[in-house]
């Protein structure tokens, strides 16, 4: 190690440290430690004058290490690193001893506290001696974004990025854009036209030069890391094209629940039991009729088909309640004489304007019937004497009566479920799925659109059931993250990440599986593993687990920690 010139600065923090710890004796003790060139004590190290003192000492005394014994590094580590950087010293050659939150504020016995402060300062001095200058890495940030899925979520995210001036590639499995929204006529709660919304988005996408649309296409492979992905895309199963990408937005949407799986509804056996998407087709065609062409005098709508149930899906599919109210109004508009009944468990009218929509729906005389979660309403063919095709038998909870409901047409509000191919997509872009198959976000509140893999975002219903406004908001949220990264031009990778010393690596590949961010790749020909700096989050799990201690945790190496252990126990 070059000749050490360590500067130690003991902060009084006004009286917060000084009222328990004798700062002067800590300073005097620090001056005696090996390698310490200068030791000062000052009232407020974090204030501007305090930092000026450090910069001045580095320049005049040629200090090559700095230790600040003050508050918690979580408060001012960044401040003192910036001070060192502005003085020309590599910021990773600075270390802090926490003698306020973890010493003066929590111990009243000043002798013990001062002795502990000395120990913590000694540990920092020994640690900083082993610290090496680290340079952050920068990687190029390819501005192109891959959008998987051409539904409303994918279109919105693509438009947001393209109108910001950056190239986007949309890969859509089907042969046209629009996704599930093209199967819907009007939207709840204001009966706005879903068709106009999709047509406007598609028109904008088509007319935007920055967007390349690849229909009938699939992503075969994705390699590299954030800012430097390479995507292999095949169209019509043909020769794959390779595209350089910076980020990936997964907007693969949802599949509706197969109503046939619920035996007691008799979907598939009873002709006039249809799903919500069948009904949307009838609305578009202007023909709401039973299978044999008659206008239904009685219609029934059943909520939570496949949702909120132990047998199928435990979650609530969030959009069906408002869809049911929409259908009740649409039925009454198309067939004014039709009597509509609505079987629900809880009426989830939580959205903006939805409670008012629920209240207005009572003006169309819908008969709302509440059944218990877990109950099985049974649909059976009516007898010849009845004036309707089918009868729905259920235990109605608000009246406590066991009733049967006449129905010529029954609309099943099928819930949302993860697409069958979601598992392939998850493996491709290296994200994980929850027990129901929805993709998992890195944190529902901190980071609702990011995933554990940097540069891969999940938006819309592929993450969990949601309505159009929430889908559009999430699509734009992902775009915001990507715009922010592209605006910075390059990816700054913090200097702190793991590094494999190839000469010691035995190629056992234990670390490859271990890393939650799959940031360690195996180099087949060299038979060695190596860490991808950008993907590594520096948690150090691999460093501790490596059987041949071949992985070095930069800025948290074993040597540095051993030095600290020695420092605190001397």
């Amino acid at each position: 190690m070059d000749d050490l010139k360590i500067g130690v600065y003991v902060c009084n923090c006004g009286t917060n440290i000084a009222h328990v710890i004798d700062a002067e004796s800590v300073r005097a003790y620090a001056a005696t430690l090996p390698g310490v060139k200068i030791a000062r004590s000052y009232r407020y190290m974090c204030s501007n004058p305090g930092q000026e003192m450090i910069v001045e000492d580095i320049r005049s005394q040629g200090l090559n290490r700095v230790v600040v014994a003050a508050c918690s590094p979580r408060m001012h580590e960044k401040t003192f690193r910036n001070a060192c950087r502005s003085a020309g010293l590599n910021p990773y050659l600075c270390d802090m001893a926490n003698i306020r939150e973890q010493c003066s504020w929590v111990h009243s016995d000043s002798v013990a506290a001062t002795e502990k402060a000395m120990a913590l300062t000694r540990a920092a001095v020994l640690r900083v001696a082993c610290q090496e200058p680290l340079a952050g890495l920068t990687a190029e940030m390819c501005p192109t974004t891959l959008v998987l899925g051409g539904g409303i979520a994918g279109l919105t995210a693509a438009l947001e990025l393209a109108e910001g001036g950056f190239p986007v590639v949309i890969v859509e499995r089907a042969d046209k854009l629009g996704g599930n929204l093209t199967r819907v006529d009007l939207t709840a709660p204001h009966f706005d036209s879903a068709r106009d919304l999709v047509r406007e988005r598609i028109a904008h996408v088509r007319s935007n030069p920055n967007i390349t649309v690849m229909l009938h296409s699939e992503l075969r492979r994705l390699s590299g890391f954030v800012g430097n992905f390479t995507g292999e895309i095949t169209t019509n199963g043909g020769k794959p094209t390779h595209v350089k990408l910076g980020n990936v937005v997964v907007a693969t949407g949802y599949k509706e629940f197969d109503a046939g799986r619920v035996t007691h509804f008799g979907y598939g056996k009873l002709p006039n039991v249809i799903t919500s998407f069948d009904f949307e087709r009838m609305l578009r065609a202007g023909r709401i009729e039973t299978r044999d062409g008659r206008l239904p005098q009685y219609a029934a709508i059943i909520h939570c088909v496949g949702s909120r149930s132990e047998e199928f899906h435990g979650y609530c599919s969030r959009v069906c309640c408002m869809t049911a109210l929409k259908y009740a109004n649409e039925l009454k508009s198309a067939i004014p004489t039709c009597y509509v009944s609505d079987l629900y468990i809880d009426m989830h009218a939580f959205g903006k304007g939805c409670e008012d929509f629920y209240k207005r729906s009572s003006e169309v005389k819908t008969m709302f019937l509440m059944y218990g979660k877990g109950d099985h309403p049974v649909i059976r063919r009516a007898g010849s004497g009845d004036d309707c095709d089918m009868l729905i038998e259920v235990e109605e909870r608000l009246s406590g009566e066991h009733i049967e409901i006449p129905a010529d047409l029954v609309i099943l509000l099928v819930g949302m479920e993860a697409r069958k191919d979601a598992t392939d997509v998850a493996r491709l872009v290296n994200i994980s799925q929850d027990k129901s198959g929805w993709f998992i976000e890195s944190h529902p509140k901190l980071d609702p659109v990011a995933t554990t893999t940097d540069g891969v975002y999940i938006v819309g219903t592929c993450a969990s059931p949601k309505d159009i406004p929430d889908t559009v908001a999430q699509a734009r949220a992902a775009a915001a993250r990507i715009l922010a990264k592209i605006a910075k031009g390059k990816i700054e990778i913090d200097g702190v990440f793991a590094e494999v010393r190839e000469e010691q690596c035995s190629g056992c590949r234990m670390c490859n599986e271990l890393c939650p961010y799959s940031a360690i790749e195996f180099d087949a020909d060299k038979r060695r593993s190596h860490v991808i700096p950008a993907a590594c989050k520096a948690c150090g799990a691999c460093v501790a687990a490596c059987p041949s201690a071949a992985i070095k945790g930069r800025h948290f190496t074993d040597t540095q920690i051993f030095a600290q252990i020695e420092g605190v126990l001397l």
């Binding site: 929590v106 150090g540 687990a545 040597t559």
Partner: protein, 144 residues
Amino acid sequence: MSYEPKLVGFLCNWCSYTGADLAGTSRIQYPPNIRIIRVMCSARIDPSFVLQSLGKGADGVLICGCHPGDCHYSEGNYKAMRRYPLLKRLLDAYGIEPERVRLAWVSASVGQRFADVVADMTERLRALGPCRVKTALQTDQIER
């Protein structure tokens, strides 16, 4: 001077270290016997750190991490949870009382919990007396 046990604490930056800081901001007092070393995640704590601490004269070692499910790196604490029983068996083999080493989940939002853990550990170590294997465990110094 009566026997004062020396306790080394390895705290993960995102939850337990922040919890210890919160104990500070809320001025919750606890015994000064603990000396805290910060690591980024409880998964980083190599069993050799514990042995080295005991070898260098520590009477007890505290390993802290986030509550399962709260880990900033999503699964780091599960790794620490797996290594801990093996380490305890190793200590047993060395004839070191397993109670000298303890694993505790400390969340970033409750300072009191960290203080209680430290106080409890200090009392237990005071009862156990000094750790006799200070020299016996001198592990060879290999360049790491």
